[in-house]
Amino acid sequence: MTEDRREFPFLPVFLVGGVALFAFYQVRAALTPFLLAAAFAYVLNPIVTYFEARGLRRFHLVLCGYLGALILAVVAYAGLKTVILEETETLQVRAPAYFQQLQKTAYAQKVLLTEKLPLPAKISEHALESALGGALHTLQELPAHVLALLPLLAHALLIPFIGFFFLLDGPGGVGGLIQACPSRLVEQAIHLLSEIDTALGNYLRGLIIVATVIFIISFLGLLALGVDNALIIAAVSAVSSVVPYFGLVMGIVVGGAMAFYQFGAPMAAVKVAVLFLAIRGLEETLIQPIIARHSLHMHAMTNLLVLILGGEMFGFLGLVFAVPAAGILKALVSVTWSWYTSERGLISATAEGAGVPYT
């Protein structure tokens, strides 16, 4: 009945994982709504499990939660309908003018600087042309970047729909995986799932907390400054904050441009920039320490590298999921190392005081 001791099949697991990743990359576009729905369900799951721990049926909890969210959304829309419609109309009318105005101001500054710089006219003009031209080009492309997010909105209904089924299934999916796993590898499989869950769950929940805080504070701050389209600017900044540093940049650029156009004074844009920098400071000093203990603990340069790689390979979604995917990879490596060291007996497990006789 006794089996020979076998080591964990590292190589086949890595090969299967690699093939699965390649297949995923090939069909990434079709999988986008499923991936987003899985993330959506994953973030909401703790709320369901909180009530489930009290013995309530998951199906009824999810159903009641969806009905409650629907009623809340209808009520919120009824309450904010005027604001949303007003802001959308204003934005539709003013958006092209905002960027035209910005372009004009930038070129006016360019002329002024060309005259004042103690350089030959052609050189200073060329230097400023390339510097300002690049910046203006980026600014002109910003609306296109924002519009590029719109296809994601097409999934706005599909994501909660698919997410409903993910939420219903809940830990059932994990249970199925464990049941399908060869019995000798069950403990290792749970180890891996547990590490991934810790890394991924905390990161995604941290993102939601940060985005919500940015939305509320920037909305109130912009209202206090009297900037038009406060709701839209706050929403853009909050949604962009899922990509590290992008929320701050979007808040300053979009909010600053709107404030500048609305008040016609650079000081208004500076105030908006100060507001978003203050929010960033608040996030760094108050919110991050709370969620940092659950973060992925990755070096800033590693973060930057995976963001560039993610953006290059998968576009906007790559930017959003690059850091958590790196977290999963890190968990995988750490678990593999832990298995390797324990299988090879490289870990000694002696406790201090073990030599004292039992009394």
Binding site: M1, T2, E3, D4, R5, R6, T49, E52, A53, R54, G55, L56, R57, R58, H60, P171, V174, G175, I178, Q179, S183, R184, V186, E187, Q188, I190, H191, S194, E195, T198, S338, W339, S342, E343, I347, A349, Y358
Partner: protein
């Protein structure tokens, strides 16, 4: 009143209640409150094993505690000539592999399901989460493990005393 009962029945998960009832019946969890048992049920992973299926082999690195809900598990160790010697037969309500919760070291025996068996697994990191998030559950388990360890040490100590007195 009956409408309230019907509504309660509609909302309460009978499977979840059954699992809680099972855990409450175990000595190790008997002092836990209802809500804590709910958290514990969520922390456990369940798996069914076929007759003759090996759960773990002596020398495998242990990472979880196993709680036997249904079926039978046999603990064996190779004897003279490599033939397995049965150390213990585990019945529903028993648990084994508990030392994995303290340290990830090689298992000291092989566990095999001798009939269709259903087990609950408590993984070490889940216990660590419980120790942080629900300290009463974690402390309960740890204190039970400490008592178990102490009892085994005492037995070992008295066994060795008995052996040495016989030798004298």
């Amino acid at each position: 009143m009956s409408a309230l009962k019907t509504l309660k029945r509609w909302f309460i998960d009978p499977q979840f209640a059954r699992k809680k009832q099972f855990l409450r019946s175990l000595d190790i969890f008997k002092d836990l409150r209802d809500r804590e048992l709910g958290h514990l049920v969520q922390a456990l992973h369940s798996r069914s094993y076929r007759e003759g299926e090996v759960i773990f082999v002596e020398g495998d690195i242990g990472r979880a505690l196993f709680i036997l809900e249904a079926g039978e598990v046999e603990l064996t160790r190779p004897g003279a000539g490599g033939k397995p010697v049965v150390l213990y037969h585990l019945k529903p309500g028993d648990f084994f592999g508990e030392m994995a919760l303290l340290e990830s070291l090689p298992r000291t025996a092989t566990a095999t399901a001798t009939e269709k068996t259903h087990l609950h697994l408590l993984y070490k990191s889940k216990l660590d989460s419980l120790l942080n998030g629900e300290p009463r559950i974690g402390v309960n388990i740890m204190s039970h493990l400490a008592r178990l360890l102490s009892a085994r040490l005492r037995r070992l100590s008295s066994d060795s005393k008995l052996a040495s007195s016989k030798n004298d």
